[in-house]
Symmetry: C2
Subunit: 170 residues, 2 copies
């Protein structure tokens, strides 16, 4: 099977979050928080929206003569939901994106996502601590690879902070 694309689901999620969005508005959205996890230029957005419309994921509203607004169809909503339910991987950005697409605090997917991510982060945390022990066995190794040492200790602290935050939200 081909590698799973992310962009179409991001567009679907963004439109779904705001009910209706134009291609231009989507390109502006990437300047905000969501831009920290994903980005696309307008030259990629417009053709993708056209493809999504052709496939029935979205419908467009051209009644406004300034912009073409897109709305998620029932089929698109189903596709987005299925994507949201697919298991996370050790890549943090997928978690962030999916969390961003949760609109309602009471959505059962919210707790599910946090629980999933917590398992993954704890595994990574343990792995990184193991790496620190095996790679930096003595002070000489630290001294001669100081950047690597800093990156590794930073990664551990990052995971610790992230785990704490996730547990707090559960």
């Amino acid at each position: 099977m081909p590698k799973k694309r992310i962009l179409p689901y991001v567009l679907l999620g963004l439109i779904n979050n705001k009910e209706r969005l134009s291609g231009y508005q989507i390109s502006q959205e990437f300047k905000n928080e969501v831009g920290d996890f994903w980005h696309a230029s307008h030259s990629q957005i417009y053709p993708e929206l056209a493809r999504m419309k052709a496939d029935g994921w979205v419908s467009d509203d051209e009644s406004d003569n300034k912009s073409t607004y897109y709305i998620v169809t029932d089929q698109g909503s189903e596709i987005l939901r299925n994507w949201m339910r697919e298991p996370l991987d050790d890549n943090e950005e997928l978690f962030s994106l999916k969390l961003y697409f949760i609109k309602d605090k009471s959505d059962p997917l919210l707790k599910d996502l946090i629980t999933q991510e917590l398992v993954l982060r704890k595994l990574k945390y343990q792995y990184l601590q193991e790496r620190l022990k095996t790679v930096f066995t003595d002070d000489k190794k630290i001294k001669n690879n100081f950047g690597h040492y800093l990156i590794l200790t930073r990664a551990i602290e990052r995971e610790r902070n992230h785990i704490q935050w996730l547990e707090d939200k559960l």
Copy 2:
């Protein structure tokens, strides 16, 4: 000017870190910590190494009949150093990569990188706090965009933790 490529400098930095590396070893390196910031498949690594050799960035040692090892040339060392000195941007991965390529604790570039990153992170921290105030003005907005709210508060906590770590290392 064309967009700045990262991969060649990553390869240069990886080889420089370990003195000598084969293409295969580089592909294995991406399974470790550096893989959290950058990745390349072997089908990209081998042609890139060939190009770097042709351009005099690295020289190869084929004395071992199992692997071809690459060593950074004086010119390559200069190119890597110049890249390391280029100013950082709000993209955290560049900081992580360059930090990873610092071998010696006393390298003056170390403090410079951390100082640069600190400025950028503090700006981002302020910006995110401002966003929180302007986007989530009342409880209804939080309730109806709960994922976005969580992502934003997480981003703020992430920056806070990062800034603390950077200040601790200074």
